[in-house]
């Protein structure tokens, strides 16, 4: 048999039917859903008299429009409240398990899936959310879909799909202190650009990736879409199996043994072909920070803001001028030392317990600079509970940061947590698009370590000076 990539193996084992002139019908093992991209799909089901075919393979949560203030307070945003109420009704009407704000398992959809052992190697996983690639860290083929497709999966547990090409991203060597998984993925995106992976699935490989924890792998896979790839994954290994074993939805007993035997067949065969390849030397990386209005506009912390005068392509040049104008930054200058107003630690990229530990390690015994507002938003109520058990909440609060309930929060600013026009943030989230964190707000994307260091100093900071 022809050597296959892990993506080809997962694809082959999920094709339900293939007819000439049509895309393949691909079976979906796990459908995650949330309040923002599902209501119109539920409406479609009602209009057409359809059911959710496999409610047992469908899991719902509330995260995007969700307040991160105390759950005991009434929700003031009536439109957001209506969306949450609708989600509750939809899940009740169609028999879907919902982790609502009253449960201890609520959280960001891409945080709770792995946390509960729902995310497993070899699965096809979809969600009406572009950061679904997060689940690829487990060796699953996981990608974001639109609301029409959410409806298709509800009704048939399948999607019409054409196969994507595989793009090998090899990261080799040891990371230097102060450099993290977030810096790896920001460096990859800065290198290939935000459209560089369009039409492909990233397979992250190499000694650096192997040495990373599952949470670090999730951070990398999470931002695959920021490199243009709908999905990104890491072949499973012992780190993966150890993480899954014992979690609520993980296979147990004989099922576990059978699953493990299957999972071990997944890694890419020797000699399998990739459409594209990129190799990155991790030992040369510095902490990364973005300066512009897309995640590809990133520089090492010691670097300078690029000069449009050096660009030849007229649209690229005008885009950079436009970005620098929006960000109110001057070319040629360092970003390091630039004053900031807000620090946000959270989002499906960096809101897991290891992210909170990293930020707390810098904050411990220090104070948030008086000119900075710092928001720490755990990715799930389980992460919050664990952080409290470790006393991280106290470290953040004593430093002067706000420690919140779980949700997407200021990553996309749907729930009232947002930047004011003109404000600058250092944010651990995934997008620095114009207005992403609030109309007129300006975002510098960085790691939890860099975010915490910047919160302490009040300016964009090289965390290595505080370690």
């Amino acid at each position: 048999m022809k050597p296959r990539t892990i993506v080809e193996k997962i694809w082959d084992s999920h094709v339900v039917a293939e007819k000439p002139g049509a895309p393949a019908l691909l079976y979906i093992d796990l459908h995650l859903t949330h309040e923002v991209t599902s209501p119109q799909a539920f409406s479609m089901l009602r209009e057409r008299g359809l059911k959710v075919r496999r409610p047992d393979l469908t899991i719902a949560t509330m995260d995007h429009s969700t307040p991160t203030t105390s759950r005991d307070l009434p929700m003031l945003d009536t439109v957001g409240k209506a969306q949450l109420d609708q989600m509750e009704k939809n899940c009740k009407d169609f028999g879907i398990r919902l982790y609502d704000l009253k449960t201890t398992k609520q959280g960001i959809v891409h945080v709770i899936g792995p946390e509960q052992g729902l995310t497993q190697p070899g699965m096809t996983i979809v969600c009406g959310d572009s950061h679904t690639a997060t689940h690829g860290a487990f060796g699953a083929l996981a990608f974001g879909i639109g609301t029409s497709q959410v409806g298709h999966v509800f009704a048939t547990q399948c999607l019409l799909q054409t196969p994507s090409k595989s793009y090998a991203i090899r990261v080799e060597g040891a990371l230097k202190p102060g450099v993290s998984a977030k810096d790896i993925i920001l460096a990859v995106i800065a290198k290939i650009g935000i459209g560089g992976g369009t039409g492909t699935v990233f397979e992250y490989q190499g000694s650096t990736i192997r040495s990373l924890s599952m949470e670090e792998r999730m951070t990398i896979c999470n931002m695959s879409i920021e490199g243009g790839a709908r999905a990104g994954l890491v072949a499973p290994d012992d780190t993966t199996y150890q993480y899954i074993n014992g979690r609520e939805f993980a296979p147990k007993g004989a099922d576990w043994d059978a699953a493990l035997a299957r999972w071990k067949q997944l890694p890419t065969d020797q000699g399998a072909q990739y459409a594209k390849e990129l190799t990155l030397d991790a030992s040369t990386l510095e902490p990364m920070v973005t300066f512009g209005t897309n995640p590809g506009m990133g520089i090492p912390i010691s670097g300078s803001i690029p000069d449009p005068a050096s660009m030849s392509d007229p649209i690229e040049k005008s885009d950079l001028i436009k970005a620098l104008k929006y960000m109110d930054l001057e070319p040629g200058r360092q970003l390091k030392g630039h004053k900031i107003d807000v620090v946000f630690v959270g989002s499906c990229t960096n809101s897991r317990i290891s992210d909170l530990r990293a930020a707390a390690s810098v904050m411990k015994g220090r104070k948030v600079n008086p000119s900075v507002r710092m928001l720490v938003v755990p990715g799930s109520m389980q992460v919050k509970k664990q952080a409290e058990a470790e006393g991280l909440d106290k470290i953040f609060r004593e430093a002067g940061a706000d420690f919140r309930e779980a949700g997407c929060s200021m990553c996309l600013a749907m729930n009232g947590d947002q930047l004011e026009p003109g404000e600058y943030s250092v944010s651990t989230s995934n997008r620095n698009f114009e207005g992403r964190q609030g109309k007129g707000g300006r975002t510098f994307l960085a790691s939890p370590l860099t975010a915490a260091a910047s919160a302490v100093t009040g300016v964009v900071t090289d965390v290595r000076t505080l370690l």
Binding site: Q120, I194, P251, L412
Partner: protein
């Protein structure tokens, strides 16, 4: 609804990497229906803070009235998977976007909403960028764009998506017809999430 031919003036927005947060900001995503999303289209590029239109934004110009085709820079529709982006475009009468490439999720969403993502070669794109408000014809059946110069260039489109658009085929209806194959597949994959085989 069927979509075969579009003939319209073009509005030119020469910006690369226009993300779906620009096409429709997240604060418009709290709706539980599709209605009224059109007012969120390019909201923060289109309007000043006080709600008055920005005179220099392309879709605010008097010539933009009735425009059905938008020409943009590379990698249009990157970022969030929100299908609200094509909904907002179509609710403003836009039925085709011409670019040199599209983000994958946006492209898929557009094709399900009577919005054509048309990829043209760099030279044709350059001609379009230089021809704001010129009339352009798109023939989906022939898969051609007739440029202002009269030259026709071909564009690629997924054959199945084309059939769905031209013949008004309902994609979900097609999927539901394959119920026996889905049931047979499921019979081999017994169990729920934690025991799927």
């Amino acid at each position: 609804m069927k979509l075969e031919k579009i003939e319209s003036k073009i509005a030119v927005l020469p910006v690369d990497n226009i993300d779906t947060d620009q096409i429709i900001p997240a604060r418009y995503l709290k709706s539980i229906s599709k209605e009224g999303l059109g007012e969120g289209l390019f909201r923060d590029w289109r309007l000043n803070a006080d709600g008055t239109p920005k005179a220099d934004f392309v879709l605010n110009k008097p010539e933009a009235k009735g425009v059905q085709i938008l020409v943009t820079g590379d990698n249009f529709g990157c970022g969030s998977s929100r299908e609200h982006a094509p909904w907002a475009l179509v609710q403003n009468g836009i039925h085709a976007v011409i670019s040199t490439s599209f983000a994958d999720i946006f492209k898929g969403n557009a094709l399900k909403n009577q919005l054509l993502p048309v990829v043209v070669p760099a030279d044709a794109h350059a001609e379009l960028l230089k021809s704001p408000w010129a009339t352009v014809k798109i023939d989906l059946v022939a898969q051609t764009v007739t440029l202002p110069s009269g030259r026709a260039v071909e564009f690629p489109i997924d054959a199945f998506a084309k059939t769905c658009l031209v013949e008004g085929v309902d994609e979900l209806g097609y999927m539901i017809q394959q119920e026996p194959a889905i049931a047979a597949f499921e019979a081999k994959r017994v169990g729920s999430v934690n025991t799927l085989r």
